[in-house]
């Protein structure tokens, strides 16, 4: 593990571990408490596998009342809690702490209601993203946000991370597809935000909870919007001699008023790695490969395919294939979907980044990345959610070579700084977690961060829920609440009436 400072374990909590485990067994009877190192090993990391830590104890509650009692117990005794869904976070959001209860929500795995007239599904947070679609697909419905881990990631985790996916330019992120949640605060109070109606009353706490990375509350129920599946989908596979031309093509498609269901770009290293792996028939003589998927009624899809093809031609595409069958459409996607494992074949390890940039800055960012690649002596392959500017550089390294992980992390940090420099952000969909925590000051000044932490104080004034994530430096709520007013400095009679 490279030099990541986590909150210092609380000695008192560590000393009372035996007592805490026993109390947890009273609150969650049966198989719901795991405390041996061997059994806890399965929970020591999430999708960001470079970081590992055994928790104090693993607790798997089954009821909302148990969640509430666990949190209240910990709150009263100043014990930290790390919530966890399926553990697929790519930013270390569910990384355990040595002195914290790991609250695993995987036993909350039931769908509670399917309501077709109102097009909603009510699910417990441990239901997988894909599980929701599976529950309603027989009637032709689906849940739109589709993070690539959808087979495993939980809907509660999706809320915590505001997960996106390939289709989110057209269909929105988790935040746009969740209507309500039930959650438990650190003090054990259960609150409901939203429901089966639109717009929460009062402050948009649902909006703030979505993407809060498990720092504000533990989600115990989620109400999502489901959609009718589009009648059909077809894709174009378009190659360009330069990334500039590919980028311009994307801009022109959107300029023509077309919002494709999916629009993905890959650079040369990613194209080659994918083609070598799955033989999708990708052209190997191009610098940028664009997959544009259009969905809807076939009359619309056919109409738009004609428009996109013309736009691609105008922008200097050297190859343009249009899927003629569902099988062919899937083959276009096969390479893209296998891009990460494909890169895994050409390098012992890879480190996946997640910045978002204004799309027009793509050529500049790619050029900058090439420079950094030379500087660090590490390769990089790029896949890009081209519609929304979300870039996933995959940095190639070998963890067995001493110092290479550190080098890869420094390379990644430089890429993210570059993203911020061109007007972008540190993370488009993977979350800050521990991974990008210390880069937050690149994007926010101390006042910005303090105001975010004050939101945390309203939910969890003792900083007990998932501490050490998102914020580079925790400040006590009492200190944050202090106001430095200089009475008389701007005296009333002197204030200009603008």
């Amino acid at each position: 593990m490279s030099g990541l400072a986590m909150p210092k374990p609380d000695a008192e909590t560590m000393r009372r571990r035996g007592e805490i485990v026993a109390d947890m067994r009273i609150i969650v009877p049966g198989e719901g408490v795991v405390d041996t190192a061997n059994e806890m090993r399965a929970f020591e990391s999430d999708g960001l596998t470079a970081y590992r830590q055994l928790p104090l104890v693993v607790v798997l509650p089954e009821t909302v009342a148990q969640v509430s009692r666990v949190l209240k117990y910990c709150n009263d005794r100043n014990i930290r809690v790390v919530p966890r869904g399926s553990g697929t976070s790519l930013s270390g959001g569910a990384l355990p702490l040595e002195d914290a209860v790991l609250l695993v929500m995987s036993r909350f795995n039931r769908i509670l209601a399917i309501d077709y007239p109102n097009r909603i599904v009510v699910a417990q947070p441990g239901v997988t993203n894909l599980g929701i679609t599976i529950a309603v697909e027989q009637e032709g419905f689906y849940y739109a946000p589709d993070p690539s881990s959808q087979i495993a990631c939980s809907i509660g985790g999706n809320v915590a991370e505001n997960s996106g996916g390939v289709h989110c330019l057209k269909y929105g992120l988790t935040a746009n597809n969740v209507l309500g949640i039930e959650m438990v605060l650190m003090n054990g109070e259960v609150v409901r935000l939203g429901g089966s109606h639109l717009d929460q009353e009062g402050y948009d706490l649902l909006g703030v909870m979505t993407g809060s990375e498990g720092l504000l509350g533990v989600v115990t129920e989620v109400t999502v919007r489901i959609l009718k599946k589009p009648e059909t989908a077809r894709a174009l596979l378009i190659g360009f001699p330069t990334s500039e031309e590919g980028g311009q093509c994307v801009a022109d498609i959107i300029g023509a008023g077309i919002i494709p269901g999916g629009m993905e770009m890959m650079d040369r290293p990613a194209i080659h790695a994918a083609e070598d792996f799955v033989h999708a028939g990708y052209p190997l003589d191009v610098e940028a490969l664009l997959i544009v998927e259009l969905d809807g009624p076939s009359v619309e899809v056919d109409h738009l395919i004609g428009l996109v093809e013309a736009i691609a031609y105008k922008n200097g595409s050297t190859t343009c294939r249009i899927s003629q069958s569902e099988q062919e459409r899937l083959s276009f996607w096969a390479g893209r979907k296998a891009a990460f494992p494909a890169v895994g074949r050409i390098s012992p390890d890879y480190y996946c980044m997640d910045g978002t940039i204004p799309r027009k800055e793509l050529p500049r960012v790619l050029a900058g990345m090439r420079g950094l690649s030379e500087k660090y002596g590490l390769g990089v392959a790029n896949v890009f959610h081209a519609g929304d500017g979300n870039l996933h550089p995959l940095i190639l390294y070998d963890a067995n070579v001493p110092g290479e992980l550190d080098k890869a992390e420094s390379f990644g940090a430089d890429i993210l700084r570059l993203c911020v420099e061109v007007g972008g952000v540190l993370t488009g969909e993977h979350g800050v977690g521990v991974e990008k925590r210390d880069l937050m000051p690149e994007m926010f000044n101390q006042i910005d961060l303090d105001q975010q932490m004050r939101v945390k104080c309203a939910f969890d004034p003792n900083h007990l829920l998932n501490p050490g994530k998102v914020f580079p430096q925790l400040r006590r709520c009492a200190e944050l609440g202090r106001m430095h007013v200089h009475r008389g400095q701007v005296a009333f009679p002197d204030i200009p009436r603008f």
Binding site: P117, G172, G202
Partner: protein
């Protein structure tokens, strides 16, 4: 009584810092087009943002627009229209309902106000509200500190989404100085399919059927008899009208309207309304024109599950005289009380009984607004959480104090 009309965010910052130091409350105002919503305030001073104007960034190909908070919505919408784009959430204009003129000479609200009141319109059903399209903000908290959140890209999960928190906060958490929204292409064409003569329950069933199809209906409203004639100047007659809007590329719209006709052919007599007349209908529904009678009788805006709202209305009718019409597939109810009594407890009790939701008293006399909760009261734990959050942004209670109380 002083009105501050700062023209820069620095001037806003110093004004709020002064107010925080003096612990003197400010009313935060854009155009004041929704000033009549919320509990009447008794602040000595007013912070008027209408001089803080200007679009600071608009990149159509990036689908992003930034503006200073006091920029007129009308000005921005015109700019978007010129570029074939729009705010997909279709922000409503409260002007007609609250006694002003439609458009109000470009004074129908500022872009900051759009977010602060989380405006939306009939397309809310498919495209979301202002909260779903806000990408980033700069603001001054009641602590007298300028902070920012979010960014200018459409996909961003860096830190808490304080931008969304500003939605529906009615100026009680911070003074917005800059906002950045996602914008989207405007549809090439639109057609509305009307089913005539349905009662509420049949209309709700028809709308659910349409929304459960792949016809991608973007808006669904039901205007009962008596109400239908108050839309589009009565041009479409007075029979009840259940309206389904389909938007998009020409050939696709034709196809999807046909699909809806097949699906709903047995529901009742069908009628197609295209182009400008269709737009007029949806504008009138958006702005609650049927109740824009220049009067002051109470009007409620109620959000519930689409399948439940009309049951609540039926139950309400047994105890109070009301007019009602439905948007959002039946889930948004506009209610006009025929007497002066807003019947707040009765209404809210029935909403709870029918699956929950919330009611906002959007038009009422000042005494009524002072006497009852204009916004839906929250259960104790949630109310306490909201109060803690308010205190973290505005510990001295200087920003629009009491407005949401």
């Amino acid at each position: 009584m002083t009105t501050f009309t700062p023209a820069t965010s620095a001037e806003i910052l110093s004004t709020v810092q002064w107010a925080a130091a003096e612990e003197t409350p400010l009313e935060i105002l854009g155009h004041g087009s929704r000033r009549g919503i919320g509990r009447p305030q008794q602040t000595e001073h007013t912070l008027d943002l209408s001089k803080l104007t200007g679009v600071t960034l608009y990149e159509p190909a990036e689908l992003v627009l930034s503006a200073k908070a006091g920029t007129p919505l009308a000005e921005i919408e015109q700019l978007l229209t010129e570029n074939g784009q729009q705010f997909a959430f279709e922000p409503m204009d409260y002007g007609p309902l609250l006694g002003g003129e439609p458009g109000q000479g470009g004074k129908n609200g500022t872009i900051g106000g759009v977010l602060a009141s989380n405006l939306s319109g009939p397309r809310r059903l498919k495209a979301g509200a202002a909260r779903d399209h806000i990408l980033g903000i700069s603001a001054v908290s009641g602590r007298g500190e300028a902070f920012k959140s979010g960014g200018r890209v459409v996909k961003n999960v860096t830190g808490y989404d304080l931008s969304k928190l500003m939605a529906n906060s009615w100026g009680t958490l911070a003074v917005l100085t800059d906002v950045t929204f996602k914008v989207l292409p405007a549809a090439e064409t639109e057609v509305t399919l009307a089913i005539r003569g349905l009662l509420d329950d049949a209309a709700v069933a028809a709308m659910a059927l349409a929304l459960g199809s792949s016809a991608e209906v973007s808006s669904a409203a039901h205007l009962p008899e008596r109400i239908a004639a108050r839309v589009a100047g009565g041009k479409h007659g007075s029979d009840a009208a259940t309206l389904l809007r389909v938007e998009g590329f020409g050939p696709s719209v034709v196809y999807r309207i046909e699909a809806l006709k097949q699906l709903l052919g047995k529901a009742g007599p069908l009628e197609e309304i295209a182009g400008e007349p269709s737009k007029t209908i949806w504008r009138d529904i958006r702005d609650c024109t049927p109740f824009a009678d220049g009067g002051a009788r109470p009007v409620w805006r109620v959000s519930m599950a689409p399948s439940e709202a009309h049951h609540m209305v039926m139950a309400l009718r047994m105890q109070a005289a009301v007019d009602a019409f439905y948007d959002w597939q039946g889930g948004l109810v506009w209610l006009s009380m025929r007497e002066d009594d807003p019947e707040a407890d009765l209404l809210r009790g029935l909403i709870r009984k029918h699956g929950g939701g919330h009611a906002t008293l959007v038009r009422a006399s000042a005494p009524h607004r002072a006497a009852l909760p204009v916004f839906e009261p929250q259960p104790p734990h949630l109310a306490a959480l909201s109060a803690r959050l308010k205190a973290e942004f505005d510990p001295k209670q200087i920003l629009n104090p009491g407005r949401m109380a």
